[in-house]
């Protein structure tokens, strides 16, 4: 006898676990930026290239996870969170990995370096951006708790506090970026103009990582406000 019942057909695949797994992969990808930037500062081209390949691979993995999740989100699914919100959240998460991949590509492609005086703050900037993503991962990992409580009550407050922390980290990275830009601006005349241009771009892209992480948080907040 074949067991096929309304009950088995009733339950769709939960998008929450795959969403969390995707975010976890994204974080894995982004956290490789730390050794990448370190190797870049150390001028270790081999290491940079090695890590760039890892990042590229992880980004690919995240991409296929994204597609997989999209495939399993048919329109007829009834979910406690809006389907569109969920897909946007996924897109934001994926943007983080894409940005990391682009950063790695840029660092390898242009054999990027930054002036010695900027090293410390530059590395710190990178790290804080990764921290923002880590916080965003924490927030996403609360989704199953949110589901448990029906997206209401104390758990919502807890998540909103976490989102506040995430925003605080992001504004820290913003400050770092401003400072780094100022330093770079002061040195502009002594450096090759194209290098300067791309260093600005690198700073901006690293900042984007934190921005996207923040957007993951604010997307989730919108979803809670419903």
């Amino acid at each position: 006898m074949v067991a096929n019942s309304y009950l088995t057909n009733l339950f769709g695949r939960s998008p929450i676990r795959p969403l969390q797994e995707h975010m976890s992969k994204v974080f894995g990808c982004v956290s490789q930026l730390k050794p990448l930037l370190q190797a870049m500062v150390d001028n270790d081209q081999n290491e940079v290239r090695r890590i760039q390949r890892i990042i590229s691979q992880l980004e690919n993995d995240a991409d296929s996870m994204k597609k997989e999740l999209r495939h399993h989100l048919p329109k007829g699914l009834f979910m406690p969170i809006d389907r569109r919100d969920l897909l946007e959240l996924l897109l934001m998460q994926d943007n983080i990995a894409n940005q990391a991949k682009d950063i790695a590509g840029l660092v390898v492609g242009r054999k990027m370096t930054v002036p010695k005086s900027m090293h410390n703050l530059f590395l710190q900037y990178g790290e804080r951006s990764i921290d923002a993503v880590a916080k965003a991962l924490d927030v996403i990992n609360e989704l199953d708790e949110l589901l448990e409580t029906g997206f209401r009550g104390l758990e919502v407050e807890r998540v909103e506090d976490m989102i506040k922390e995430l925003n605080a980290i992001e504004s820290e990275t913003d400050k770092c970026q401003v400072e780094l830009r100022d330093m770079l601006f002061a040195m502009e005349d002594d450096l090759k103009p194209t290098d300067v241009m791309f260093t600005y771009r690198l700073l901006e892209w690293i900042g984007n990582v934190g921005d996207y992480a923040e957007k993951v948080g604010s997307r989730l907040q919108l979803l809670l406000a419903r």
């Binding site: 006898m1 074949v2 309304y6 088995t8 708790e145 589901l147 029906g150």
Partner: protein, 445 residues
């Protein structure tokens, strides 16, 4: 021997049967044996296939292992069938057909009813076999009701059907999932408010959990005492029944409360998922709600198998279609045994398959859905409405979903439920009409 059936002439109903000749006794025995075999087969099918749906929410949420679920199902399906199955059985047996039509000298003789009920049973069993072979989810209840209406309306005539009662039954098919859904929504919302969305959900689960168990125990005890114990030989007054039900509900709540108290908070388990310990409490309480579910299922669905059997037995032993004849309790016993046999032989496999597919349901959700579904089904059993346990459970799960409790639900199932009515009712009716003419051909020539 078929040819020697006594002539149906203007003999008084009461003297027409049992006849004095040997052949009639033989025929009577054959009818009863046939009905018993078909009914047993049908009950076996219910046990093998249908029970899995009632229990799968517990297995899927990992509150129960398949083995424990089988044991609980066997005990409580049997208890439900035997103690509270009488009322729905009565509906299937004589609530759908117009019994005045079946008497000697009337439009149809009583043995026409025997052929019809045998045909309905065989039709339902055949259809369920075909459906489960092909993996189509169908409802036993709808099939048997379609089959009984089918043979009566076409084989005998439209006035052989109590259309008003059939209308009420069809209404109950719409109302029961809706009602269960609303009930589940309310129960789950209260679980959120009292337990999940509080500062100390674990403590509150322990505090308020027994209250829910009390409600479940009280309801089931009330239905059993009011509707079931009479045919077992106990007749209890209203006030006394109420007190007894209160006592039984309290007893269950206390037992549950003591069991819950033994669960120790494990802070490590909460690190990954903050509600692991709370869910453990619900998982334990689901032993009770699963029992309620099995009891409810037994009380309602046993009728699908034994309702026609009871009709056949009643005609074969009294020779008439008496409205007031009592239901022999061995018929319910037969149904209970059939269900347990089905569980023991096939239920294990089906339950595992269904359970593995619904793992998205956590114990707190399954708990709310099961209380709502079991409550609705038991109340239907009380009023004698043959409803689908599975449809009711689907309604309850949707209710929990609407309280934002479940990650993803496939709403297309609702459409497929309506579709299955469109297919199952005519299929049951058609097969039943076919078998009816077949039996008539065999026995009357």
């Amino acid at each position: 021997m078929w040819a020697t059936t006594p002539k149906r002439s203007g003999v008084d109903c009461n003297y027409y049967w049992p006849g004095k000749g040997e052949t009639t006794v033989d025929q009577m025995t054959i009818y009863i044996i046939l009905a018993g075999v078909f009914g047993l087969f049908m009950a076996w099918g219910i046990g093998a296939n249908d029970v899995a749906n009632a229990m799968a929410t517990s297995v899927g949420s990992r509150a129960l292992t398949v083995k424990k679920a089988i044991i609980i199902a066997a005990i409580f399906e049997f208890a439900g069938a035997y103690l509270a199955g009488g009322h729905v059985t009565k509906t299937i047996r004589k609530g759908i057909i117009e019994s005045d039509v079946f008497c000697v000298g009337c439009q149809a003789s009583p043995d026409i009813l025997v052929y019809g009920m045998l045909a309905a049973l065989l039709a339902a069993a055949t259809w369920l076999l075909i459906a489960s072979r092909n993996g189509w989810p169908v409802s036993t209840t709808h099939t048997i009701v379609g089959a009984v209406v089918g043979f009566a309306a076409v084989g005998v005539g439209p006035d052989a059907v109590q259309w008003g009662k059939v209308g009420t039954i069809v209404m109950s098919w719409v109302v029961s999932p809706l009602f269960a859904g609303i009930l589940a929504y309310m129960i789950f919302s209260s679980v959120q408010k009292l337990i999940l969305n509080t500062e100390h959900p674990f403590e509150n689960a322990k505090r308020y959990g027994p209250l829910y168990l009390f409600a479940v125990g009280f309801l089931i005890a009330m239905v059993t005492i009011k509707k079931g114990l009479k045919h077992v030989g106990l007749d209890i007054g209203d006030g006394q029944a109420f007190l007894m039900a209160l006592g039984l509900g309290a007893g269950i709540a206390i037992i549950g409360g003591l069991m819950i108290r033994r669960i120790k908070m494990d802070p490590r388990a909460d690190r990954k998922f903050h509600y692991t310990n709370v869910e453990k409490v619900f998982g334990l309480m689901m032993i009770f709600t699963a029992s309620a579910m099995a009891f409810a299922h037994g009380s309602n669905d046993v009728a699908n198998a034994v309702g026609p059997v009871a009709a056949v037995v009643s005609v074969a032993t009294t020779g008439t279609v008496l409205q007031q004849s009592v239901l022999p309790s061995w018929v319910l016993l037969l149904g209970g045994i059939g269900i347990v046999a089905g569980l023991a032989t096939f239920g294990y496999r089906v339950m595992r398959t269904v359970g593995h597919k619904i793992t998205e349901l956590t114990p707190s959700r399954g708990f709310a859905a099961e209380i709502a579904a079991a409550g609705t089904v038991v109340m239907a059993s009380y009023t004698g409405m043959p409803i689908s346990t599975t449809h009711t459970l689907v309604g309850a799960v949707l209710g929990v979903g609407f309280a934002r409790g479940i990650a993803a639900l496939n709403l297309r199932v609702v459409g497929s439920i309506f579709m299955s009515w469109v297919v199952t009712l005519p299929a049951g009716a058609g097969l039943s009409i076919m078998f009816f003419y077949m039996f008539k051909g065999i026995f009357l020539t």
